[in-house]
């Protein structure tokens, strides 16, 4: 056996190792070093914190794309602010006057923050999920560890959420810099958690749906064009829902983007939204998120344990 591994045929493993440069190892120490906790303790730790353990891997994988993610996070809000605030905003403010009682940039900025993270979550919860099951099979390795499929689903989500906290935070800072968050530091900071909650409300059902797709992923292009874009255009981002005919209002009501946008407007400039509607928006977003997580847990379990 020593001959096979070192190819020298020496009787002395040590000298053979030195000559071939292969480090000799202590097999007994490798399989029972005495440095690991009992296996039941490992299982208990994973039961407690497994989602976080998987999130660590996803975050580590994102490191390779850290620069593009950072550039995107800074550049996109800047472009929006300049185009819509300085460009279109001037036009609107001179033409129609204030929208919802504020200048156009202030009106549109919190909505853009929400839409931006929703677009990002669309990218994060479609192709990467497909890759986990099919293209790179990233989920199958962890599925053989003490992790449960639901923890893998939630771990992936958790990593993405952390990214959005950062992305939303950058957006908010840029809003402040353009004077587009007049309600003050602490209240306007709430746009960040609101943006993240909106992202999970749309992202978790999408993650669950993506996990059910076995073959090709043409469905994702369809979602991008016929779900995400209409939400962006018609769910109260660029003009209030009330500016549209009543028979189009349902697009807002079923869109997490509209519910999130309304909340973000309350946070950033104190938009006049009745408390009962604030509660409705919150409940809608929370219900979508929880429903999506439950569905994703089931679907991941079916894919990974069958």
């Amino acid at each position: 056996m020593t001959e096979l591994s070192h190819g020298t045929g020496s009787d002395e493993p040590g000298s053979a190792a030195t000559r071939t440069g292969a480090q000799e190892f202590d097999a007994a120490g490798l399989v029972a070093s005495g440095r690991v906790p009992p296996h039941t303790e490992m299982a208990a730790r994973t039961r407690r914190s497994g989602s976080w353990f998987y999130a660590e891997t996803t975050l580590r994988g994102m490191r390779a794309f850290a620069l593009p993610i950072a550039v995107y996070a800074v550049l996109q809000p800047l472009l929006y602010m300049v185009a819509l605030g300085v460009g279109l905003g001037e036009l609107v403010d001179r033409g129609t006057g204030p929208v919802d009682g504020v200048d156009y940039l202030t009106f549109v900025a919190p909505a853009l923050l929400v839409s931006t993270v929703v677009m990002s979550v669309t990218a994060e919860m479609t192709y990467p999920v497909m890759s986990g099951f099919k293209w790179q099979r990233l989920y199958y390795g962890p599925a053989a560890s003490p992790l449960e499929p639901g923890q893998i689903a939630r771990g992936h989500l958790l990593a993405v959420v952390l990214r959005f906290v950062l992305q939303g935070g950058v957006f908010w800072v840029i809003m402040m810099a353009f004077g587009a968050a007049p309600s003050g530091f602490w209240q306007s900071a709430l746009v960040v958690p609101i943006g993240v909650l909106t992202a999970t409300a749309f992202g978790t059902p999408l993650q669950a749906y993506a996990s059910t797709i076995e073959d090709e992923a043409y469905q994702f292009a369809f979602i991008q064009r016929f779900v995400v874009m209409p939400m962006f255009l018609f769910a109260g981002t660029f003009f209030p829902l009330s500016a549209m005919p009543v028979w189009l209002h349902w697009i807002g009501w079923v869109s997490p983007v509209w519910h999130g946008t309304q909340l973000a407007r309350v946070a950033s400039y104190g938009a006049d939204v009745p408390p009962v509607m604030i509660a409705v928006h919150l409940v809608f977003l929370l219900a979508c998120t929880v429903g999506g997580v439950v569905w994703a847990t089931r679907s991941y379990t079916r894919r990974l344990h069958s």
Partner: protein
């Protein structure tokens, strides 16, 4: 020795198809146990039920006294799993694959820094620690997958077709590594459709076909039981093999006609070959060899292991 894995009447069905059809087995602590059979025999399905990532449809199964169907995470904490298809994380570096996998067991980073270095030495991948996984050869990926499976110091290592697709040298390196793990006390459970692998690695094995156990025992006892000591392989050309076989009666204990050759089972192969020539038969080629598990499988099922 106590059994670490016990199965009684283990079953798994997919609709009308029965993948595992009543398997009984006992794997003892510290042994190397094999499941030998052709592709589709139900070996991988059995492994996944042991690993708690697939629920059984019938029978009893315990791993270290735990039920993998009900206590999957606890069972998997004790196991190292090397799947048939490598599923390393190609977005991570070689060393990171071990470290991050160790995190799934709640192991500390301090431990994992040391452990990953030891495991890379074991897998002879120290020089590749910072490389991308995609830059590794097939044999290196396999060794990394095994190293990753050892990060939690498992009591049982499950290996599904560990050397499929590897060249002979890579296979021998891998067998050496696995043999050392067994020496150090790790229980190995190996599925394979290669008879030489089963002979090299397994103390004891079951021969599986269509989800059922056809035979079990050590490789040598199986060969003794189901075959003669030697085999004479004769080739008369594919057109003549079938017509010649009638004239070979009594040369050995029995004959087996394959599309390309005739196998004559005899205790003394050379003597059998002399008898063939004395009957005026002149094969195109002839070969005397020791009987193998391939012959056992052929005897039990009438088919070859590798189609």
């Amino acid at each position: 020795m106590p059994a670490v894995i016990t199965a009684r009447g283990l079953r798994k069905t997919y609709g009308d198809f029965t993948a595992v059809d009543g398997i009984d087995l006992d794997v003892e602590a510290g042994e190397s146990f094999g499941l030998l059979g052709p592709n589709g025999a139900g070996k991988s399905t059995t492994m996944r039920m042991i690993g708690g990532t697939l629920d059984r449809d019938g029978g009893e199964l315990t791993v270290l006294g735990l039920d993998p169907g009900a206590q999957g995470p606890q069972v998997r904490a004790h196991l190292g799993v090397v799947p048939q298809q490598d599923n390393l994380d190609e977005e991570l570096r070689v060393r990171e694959n071990i470290v991050m996998y160790g995190r799934y067991f709640g192991l500390s980073r301090a431990y994992l820094v040391d452990k990953s270095a030891e495991l890379l030495a074991f897998a002879q991948l120290e020089a590749k620690a910072r490389d991308k996984v995609s830059a590794l050869s097939g044999g290196m990926k396999r060794r990394l997958t095994i190293a990753r499976g050892l990060v939690n110091e498992p009591r049982i290592l499950l290996l599904d077709e560990p050397t499929t697709g590897l060249d002979p040298q890579a296979r021998h390196i891998l067998w050496d590594r696995l043999f050392r793990l067994k020496e150090a006390g790790t229980t190995l459970v190996v599925t394979t459709h290669f008879m030489d692998e089963a002979e090299q690695l397994c103390d004891r094995l079951i021969v599986v076909d269509h989800g059922r156990i056809m035979a079990q025992g050590s490789p040598s006892s199986l060969i003794r039981e189901h075959s003669t000591r030697e085999v004479l392989e004769l080739r008369f050309g594919s057109a003549r093999n079938a017509s010649v076989v009638a004239q070979l009666d009594g040369v050995g204990e029995r004959n087996e006609v394959l599309p390309d050759r005739i196998l004559v089972y005899a205790h003394d192969g050379e003597a059998a070959l002399e008898e063939v020539t004395s009957r005026g038969l002149h094969p195109v080629t002839s070969l005397v060899r020791r009987a193998s598990l391939e012959d056992v499988f052929l005897r039990l099922t009438g088919r070859s292991l590798v189609d």
